[in-house]
Symmetry: C2
């Protein structure tokens, strides 16, 4: 039986972890296996257990236990101290907004998302606007309640849910460097690529062969199939639990690249989960260090490795063996051609389909707008206009009157998850900096990759990132891994090398 306050907290968080385990498997099953008629019962089960987890962490006794454990903190090991710090953060996150607001937001988000499914197809902004206003107003209220509890600014209080310790002043600085650099760079790349000869493999790619390709490359890059699976879902994700990671993809008969790069992206997330510190998995300090670092691991796998020339040198013959048929031009399977195919740049409307170079501009547009919304410097009714202005400024295309490919293009804001967007681009930048550090640390890294040998690289990532869980702050983790905090120039250098050399 646990005696100290700290031990009682470990027991409490272990219980929450076990509920999360079943919740995660329930979510995965819902997306991959569940027949349609099971959905409302599953929704109720997940909602009720989510309430239970919130009750457990918000119980009055939790704050007392944290306070009392802090009094005796010197008796704890450094990992226990870090665990206590993470417990306190989660407890504050759970208790700093009212349960009425949580309920109201969940309801408004569900209404908004449900309506979005039909209204987007109709390009119907008029009916969507009041629903989104409702969500945004409740999110503003949430940001203010959280700001009060944390002494952060309202936007930073939301941001900290996904990226603990990060703040918008630092992000403003980082993103301003990208806003200076990227728009002219995009022009340059587009012009350069205009004369490239790229052969698009045309044809029918059977799902079984695509699945085999995904599984083969997952195995090569070190996904542990003893503790994970690959399945199909409408929206690809990485779920399950660290001990049993479930990633998903979807297949298009005509385009194998979407699933292939998607699988490798999710594999990056999965390897992080599989490499988390085994002894601490059931505790907050054993979890991944925020969304920006998580995304850095998926983008490390996808952008730094899978879309690179060395990797495609290795993968091209495997891809050809599994997918080629006689109707196709054999040239399309060369590593050079696959490299060009996987790195085409084209400014377009939809973020989730964007290439590596234009993607950050989509993110920065969203970040700037969501900050204005939370700070009440922009009204929801003016969203389409500012969207159009920024799209023209950043990517040279207009969304005037085109709501469905503009501010109605995805569901990211419908549930009020503002503060999440910057983590995508922070992830991309962390990934470039981490690759640079790995390349310095591992002799002939690109040769290893060309040979399909990922052992040293995985070992480096495991030691520097995965096995650290949430022991360090985000900044300290980057210092631990690379010797310095996030520094924009690694990312800019990476883009220049990949797209202009």
């Amino acid at each position: 039986m646990p005696h100290t306050s700290y031990q009682q907290l470990e027991k409490l968080f272990n219980r929450i972890y076990q509920l999360q385990h079943l919740t995660s498997i329930g979510h995965w099953d819902m997306a991959t296996m569940m027949p349609a008629g099971g959905s409302s019962a599953r929704g109720e089960a997940l909602a009720e257990v989510s309430v239970m987890m919130n009750e457990l962490i918000s119980d009055n006794s939790t704050g007392d236990l944290i306070h009392s454990a802090q009094q005796a903190e010197t008796e704890l090991s450094d990992w226990q101290q870090a665990n206590l710090r993470e417990m306190k953060r989660l407890w504050l996150d759970a208790t700093s907004i009212s349960s009425e607001l949580v309920k109201a937001k969940a309801l408004a988000g569900s209404d908004c998302e449900h309506a979005w499914r039909t209204l987007r197809a109709e390009n119907n902004w008029q009916d969507f606007q009041p629903l989104l206003e409702n969500v945004i107003n409740l999110t503003i209220e949430e940001s203010q309640q959280r700001a009060e509890a944390s002494s952060l600014s309202p936007y930073d209080a939301l941001l900290n849910l996904y990226e603990p310790g990060q703040n918008s002043a630092a992000i403003d600085l980082i993103f301003s460097q990208l806003t200076d650099f990227l728009p002219p760079f995009i022009q340059q790349v587009v012009e350069k690529q205009a004369s490239d000869m790229v052969i698009q493999p045309m044809g029918f790619f059977p799902v079984d062969a695509q699945r085999e390709l995904g599984l083969t490359l997952m195995r090569h890059v070190g996904f542990n199939f003893e503790q994970g699976r690959l399945d199909v879902s409408h929206h690809p994700f990485c779920g399950g639990v660290a001990e049993d990671v479930r990633i998903t993809t979807r297949y298009s008969d005509e385009d194998f690249g979407e699933s292939l790069m998607g699988v490798l992206h999710e594999t990056g997330h999965a390897k992080y989960e599989q490499g988390l510190p085994h002894d601490w998995l059931s505790q907050p300090v054993g979890a991944a260090r925020g969304m920006g670092i998580h995304e850095s691991q998926s983008l490390f796998q996808e952008m730094q490795i899978a879309r690179s020339k060395p990797f495609l040198n290795f993968a091209a013959p495997i891809i050809e063996t599994l997918l080629a048929n006689k109707q196709m031009d054999k040239q399309c399977w060369s590593a050079d051609n696959l490299y060009q195919l996987n790195n085409r740049v084209k400014p377009d409307f939809i973020r989730v389909n964007a290439d590596e170079v234009t993607y950050p501009m989509h993110v920065i547009l969203r970040y700037e707008i969501e900050k204005l919304l939370i700070n009440q410097k922009l009204q929801v009714k003016d969203l389409p206009e500012i969207w159009d202005v920024k799209m023209q400024q950043y990517l040279g295309i207009s969304t005037a009157g085109n709501y469905k490919d503009g501010c109605m293009q995805d569901i990211h804001w419908t549930d009020g998850s503002l503060g999440y967007f910057p983590t995508y681009t922070l992830g991309a930048m962390n990934a470039a900096q981490l690759y640079h550090a790995a390349d310095k640390a591992i002799l002939d890294l690109s040769q290893h990759i060309s040979n399909g040998n990922f052992a040293a690289l995985n070992q480096w990532q495991k030691e520097k990132i995965w096995s650290q869980g949430s022991f360090y702050s985000i900044d300290d983790l980057m210092i631990h891994a690379t010797g310095e905090k996030l520094n924009t120039h690694y990312y800019i250098d990476h883009l220049k090398k990949r797209f202009l050399l």
Copy 2:
């Protein structure tokens, strides 16, 4: 918000139901999808949530709420009153043994089952005996604690966990009629069948074709695929939740009959779950009425329907279309031949492989022995001897020295689930009585079945059994459905008609 004690109880049991939902899906996933390396984390999650459910129901406040709801019982509807009665039963089940004993039994059961996996293969009774003794001793202690709390006899207190309201005096009477009837009857049937010409379809039956056959017949007999699935697991079962029922099978390349009849058996369980009263699913009164009635629904589907001549008249051409190849004798696919194949009788060692006629003798043997064990009239060390004596008496075969096909043949006792065995044969008998009543109620029932038309029969079962949940006691449910309590003669008549006519 709930105000009355009864409403608070509904809220509590709804919470438990939602935890059970995720637990069920977690169990299903473990048996069908989970990679091997996920097993210890899953085990921990399921164990912790099981403790939580037990804490919720055993909380001191639950007894008070039940007491206070009973004071105001006249204000409740008849279904609410039945629900309160079931709540009280579950609360008594959960609180009448000490949590130390629960833990000790779980540990002893897990040790015993784990050792069984190797010791059975080695025919090693000597090392198995002390482990089983440990389990049986703890189960005796459990039976005594439960007896004290319920004023039932120790064995009946265990029996009531699976078959509420049932008692061993009644079962003794019922089983004694079978023990008189069956052994000579088995001899007769074996002699009669000795001259039957049965053609065993020989060959390789691809899993895909067997799966298609299972799915096709499931669809015909009324499994709702909008709220359920068929998958593969090592041990077939019916799991999931009433809103999303997951059944499983396993395939043998050489014997399609095992999976086919297994699938239809589990489909019988599944249709019961899918037909439970929709408005009461999250409450105890909405659950199935005990294991004997549950087994009656699977055996209704398997024994009363699927192995009958009318059903095989309907199914034979479907089976032939999906499974036949040119190497096989076309005669083997006739309904007559399939009927004979599916009703061969042969006394043998292993219960789970037994035919319809010898199966009850396996069950009665287990029932008689487990009663002796619980009443401390038999020691575990004497188990092999009494097993051999009874096998000779009931089935004319000896297990002397053959522990692995005798008392070590399955894991039913390793976790101390004594009291469960009689429900198998009670289920078979209930099924025969229910079929007799359905046949009286539905004009030309066997013609409907020959035509593959199950609508009227499903409607009858839904009205009489499925939609009643746990509203009635077991006896009252049988009276509601058939006009009388369980009566042995329907079962004996069924066996005579099927095996001697």
